[in-house]
């Protein structure tokens, strides 16, 4: 009962904060929606409105070359009253999205999969935060709030990633596959989360039932399920827009990076400088780089699939072509699930100060470059490097901590002693 009351209180408070921000500062949503840190070409709400306008006027939403988001968002948002005049309904939807995301995150926390899995039990598994605290960490994270106020569609993608994780950790197969396929449908790269989450789901089901299901048929069925649900989503989209051209305008843009609007990631600057003849090659290299972490991590940390999935979201926040602070918000909200690793992490101060430094200086440097004209693109790029460095430190440090934690379980006599890599 106590938890439920706390949870209700938390949700009410989070909703109130967002409502307050929406109503007290009516220009704030539009201001944030124009910030490159929050809105990327593939998640911007302003671009969504453009697509919506074209869609409601029976023109292909991809005609203008502005809209790069999934087609199914259009009928959803066209049901809502026009945002320019009645933003309230849209705001409520985004608040609900955040609350649902927090709910999913709390379900993950309650499942306890972060510290205790089927094959692994952390020696510090008593060290954990309550689900309400973790939910609060998500809901009151300024990055999450900014994403919600800017009404970026990455809030939706985050929601479905969290839901996929929650359902996988509960072993709810159908909802897991469906949530993951929607997440992949909305922003493509969550598809890479499928193997670790599949293992997570397998472990959850194996724990529940007496006998572990056959791994091969399990994988085959789930992969088929993913293909079917993704395929049907794409098919519905093609029926909706009555052509397959949306593929090139949505996933094609994510893959080939034609829009070099600055963002907090590492790609845009690199590709503005790239020789034209090597552009395709380095696009391939960058994508292979993002994807190459998945198999290695999944194999090495087979026993801690939720941790792999979390680390992958961190890698997405750094290395995907169009990252925004929404991706970082997702990762930073998932990290507290691993409270038991915190004592083993060595660079918490460095990482947190770097991220804080970058989040304050980023907008300032962007202002210097674009508006004041006293800086240049290198200013902003340097600060995005620092931002990515901060996130990478968190990723690397938490990886170290997870491995150290495994070692402690394997060789309890080494607990608390210094180790050295050979």
């Amino acid at each position: 009962m106590l938890i439920d009351r706390q949870k209700a209180l938390l949700f009410a408070a989070a909703a109130a904060v967002r409502l307050l921000l929406f109503t007290a500062f009516p220009s704030l949503p539009s201001l944030l929606a124009g910030r490159v840190e929050v809105s990327t070409p593939v998640t911007s709400f302003k671009r969504l409105q453009e697509g919506l306008f074209l869609y409601t006027h029976d023109v292909s939403p991809y005609d203008g070359g502005v809209y790069h988001q999934a087609p199914l968002l259009l009928p959803l948002f066209s049901l809502l009253p026009n945002t320019s005049y009645y933003p309230f309904a849209t705001n409520l939807v985004y608040i609900a999205v955040d609350l649902l995301g927090a709910n999913a995150l709390m379900q993950i926390a309650e499942s306890g999969q972060s510290a205790t899995t089927r094959l692994f039990k952390s020696s510090r598994n008593d060290l954990r935060w309550s689900s309400v605290a973790i939910g609060a960490g998500f809901l009151f994270n300024p990055f999450t709030v900014a994403t919600c106020i800017a009404r970026s569609t990455s809030a939706l993608a985050n929601l479905f990633i969290l839901m996929a994780m929650a359902k996988a950790s509960q072993g709810a197969s159908i909802t897991f596959v469906f949530a993951l396929s929607i997440a992949a449908y909305l922003s493509m790269h969550p598809l890479l989360l499928f193997p670790p989450l599949l293992i997570l789901c397998y472990d959850a089901r194996a724990t529940r039932s007496r006998q572990a299901p056959n791994a091969f048929t399990f994988t085959a069925i789930y992969a088929l399920g993913l293909v079917v649900s993704l395929g049907s989503l794409l098919y519905i989209s093609s029926v909706l827009t009555s052509s397959w051209e949306f593929l090139a305008s949505t996933y094609g843009v994510r893959l080939l990076l034609p829009d070099l609007t600055p963002n907090v990631g590492l790609w845009w600057y690199f590709f503005t400088e790239m020789f034209d003849s090597f552009r395709e090659f380095f696009l391939g290299v960058f994508w292979v780089h993002v994807a190459s972490y998945m198999p290695g991590l999944t194999i090495r940390l087979r026993k801690q699939p939720l941790f792999v999935a979390t680390t992958l979201t961190g890698i997405f926040a750094i290395f995907t072509p169009y990252p925004s602070i929404a991706d970082a918000a997702l990762y930073l909200s998932l990290v507290p699930l691993f409270r038991h690793l915190f004592p083993l992490m060595r660079y918490t101060f460095l990482a947190s100060s770097t991220i804080l430094y970058a989040s304050f200086l980023g907008p300032a440097f962007y202002y210097l470059w674009i508006y004041a004209g006293s800086g240049n693109a290198n200013f902003f790029y340097a600060i995005t490097l620092v931002w990515s460095l901060g996130l990478s430190v968190v990723v690397g440090d938490s990886l170290y901590a997870a491995l150290r934690d495994e070692l402690d379980v394997e060789r309890p006599e080494l607990r608390g002693k210094e180790v050295k890599r050979i």
Partner: protein, 566 residues
């Protein structure tokens, strides 16, 4: 850092999780670390293997696919053969029809055969030969096929043009005979003869036949020289067989060709009126052009098209770099020195745009000097007009005798200027000086242009073939291959048109071939990588891929070593 408590700290079995270690510091362990568990060993191999698998099965194909230089297949041998002149030997068979309505058919045949003999004896240039035939010989079996070709379409222009020249044999009773008159505005040579000059059927030569042959040879002499010169300079195959041209002829031809504008399907003509004062402020140029120039341009339309614009510029002084005109007592005129003529055009201030659009511009300048400096002439020759090679012509229009220079230049006042400009235009376009008949000169120009386009397109193809062979690193897109195919097809067409005497078709095909060849040669995307040597690729690849590759390779090698050691 060595552990403080002592030697009983073994290293972690697996602290390098997914990212293979970059540096391996050799540690001096006091005791050997405990052996790694089988499972962790296997895990590590899998991890390393997974990274290698991604690199090899995804990375390598991407590298292969994205950095491969696409080279469309080009018919290199054919292109080289064209450039070397191995495929097409341009020949210029000219058909000359003979109209002899008053002659007996047999006599006419005899005459033609005799003339043909005489002509062939005179001709030293095998590629260019004249063939005589009887214009209307309905009964002649030998000429029946030609007759069909000729009468195929009475109104058909191209068939009409197949006849380069027609000879009209006109019998006269009095006056000197034989004599000939070349019609100035029709491709017709009138030959007057007295009936007794018809050769008897048995004889092989006759004065009339020899006369006609000589006349024809004279008419086409300049064309032969032009073509011979063209063939000898552009294609080395003919050099040996060519009749040797005298050095003066060659110099003269060179001079002409430096003057001539490069061939273009469209020329832009600009007529400008410049005056150092406010007068004259208008001219009846439209009417003058209509009357004097339009017919000329129309006759040229089978070779090139023209667009025309005009302008009036007042208070236009000539450039300060040249010496001001001096008054010459003998000539009673103001004079410009000949060496100053090149600086007469004030390029800095006179608005003469170098080129409008893609087509080259030909400028014609009418300069009306100030009242105080009139008449203005060229000192050495007393002339008032000159031609600027490959650029245009200038004419100084001195107002009639004395008195006020008029506010408006009438059409009549412009007449001499228009005549001069027409002459200059013809010269700039490379129209030969002789013969006197304009249609004949035009058709000569057509043949010369067709041949030169043919050669320039062929040599462009050859250059492209050499470029392709020499630079292995440039990409060749599909549209280059397509252009080359177009060029070769039209070259072939043009060559066979020439052989069959269809010169208009030959010119058009050669023009298309030339355009396609130029387009293929100057394709922009081909040159992007020319200045990108292989060393630069190291600079592109290493900074990014080096740091990634080193740990991958080191980890892979270490695992291989341990596998072998076991």
């Amino acid at each position: 850092m060595p552990p403080a408590e002592g030697a009983d700290v073994p290293p972690t079995p697996n602290s390098n999780p997914n990212i293979p270690p970059i540096t391996k510091s050799a540690i001096t362990a006091m005791r050997h670390p405990p052996p790694e568990s089988k499972e962790s060993l296997r895990l590590r191999r899998y991890v390393i293997l997974s990274f290698w698998a991604v690199a090899i099965f995804i990375g390598l194909p991407i590298w292969w696919k994205t950095t491969a230089i696409y080279r469309a297949e080009l018919p290199l041998q054919i292109m080289t053969d064209w450039a070397d002149g191995k495929i097409c030997r341009p020949v210029f068979p000219l058909r000359i029809s003979v109209e002899a309505p008053t002659l007996q058919l047999q006599d006419a045949h005899n005459l033609i055969r005799a003339t043909q003999h005489a002509l062939d004896d005179l001709n030293e240039f095998s590629a260019h030969h004249l063939r005589l035939m009887l214009a209307d010989a309905p009964l002649s079996a030998a000429n029946a096929s030609q007759q069909v070709v000729i009468s195929g379409g009475p109104g058909d222009r191209s068939d009409d043009e197949d006849i380069a020249l027609s000879i009209r044999l006109i019998p006269i009773e009095t006056g000197t005979a034989p004599r000939s008159i070349l019609q100035p505005y029709a491709p017709t040579l009138d030959v007057y003869y007295s009936p007794n000059q018809i050769p008897p059927p048995s004889s092989t030569g006759s004065p009339l036949a020899t006369f006609i042959a000589h006349e024809l040879h004279k008419i086409f002499a300049e064309e032969q020289t032009l073509l011979a010169h063209l063939l000898s300079t552009t294609s080395n195959v003919y050099t040996a067989k060519m009749k040797s041209l005298s050095s003066e002829t060659v110099t003269e031809l060179e001079r002409q060709s430096t003057r001539t504008l490069k061939y273009a399907p469209t020329y832009h003509l600009t007529f400008s009126l410049f005056s150092p004062t406010f007068m004259p402020s208008s001219w009846e140029i439209e009417a003058a052009l209509q009357q004097y120039l339009s017919p000329l341009l129309e006759t040229f339309s089978s070779i090139s098209n023209f667009t025309v614009d005009t302008q009036v510029q007042l208070y236009a002084t000539f450039s300060p770099s040249i010496r001001q005109p001096e008054y010459d007592e003998n000539l009673k005129a103001w004079t410009l020195r000949k060496e100053d003529l090149s600086g007469f055009i004030n390029a800095a201030e006179w608005p003469l745009s170098p080129s409008i659009g893609v087509s080259p511009t030909v400028n014609f300048i009418l300069y009306v000097p100030d009242q105080s400096q009139s008449p203005l002439l060229v000192k050495e020759s007393g002339a008032n007009s000159w031609l600027v090679p490959q650029w245009g012509g200038v004419l100084i229009l001195n107002p009639a005798v004395t008195g006020q220079s008029p506010m408006t230049l009438t059409k009549d006042a412009l007449t001499p200027a228009m005549h001069t400009f027409s002459e200059q235009l013809l010269s700039l376009l490379g129209l030969p000086q002789s013969p006197a008949s304009l249609p004949l000169r035009l058709s000569t120009l057509k043949r010369v242009r067709a041949a030169s386009l043919l050669f320039s397109a062929s040599s462009t193809l050859g250059a492209l073939a050499r470029l392709t062979k020499a630079l292995k690193s440039i990409p060749i897109p599909d549209n280059v291959a397509k252009s080359v195919d177009t060029a070769i097809a039209h070259l072939q067409q043009s060559c066979s048109d020439l052989r069959d005497g269809r010169f208009q078709g030959a010119l058009e095909n050669a023009r298309i071939a030339e355009t396609a060849a130029e387009k293929a040669f100057f394709e922009k995307s081909m040159v992007g990588q020319v200045y990108f040597p292989d060393e630069h690729k190291v600079a592109v690849y290493l900074p990014l891929l080096g740091p990634v590759a080193v740990p991958l390779i080191m980890a892979g090698m270490k695992e291989l070593k341990s596998l072998r050691g076991r």
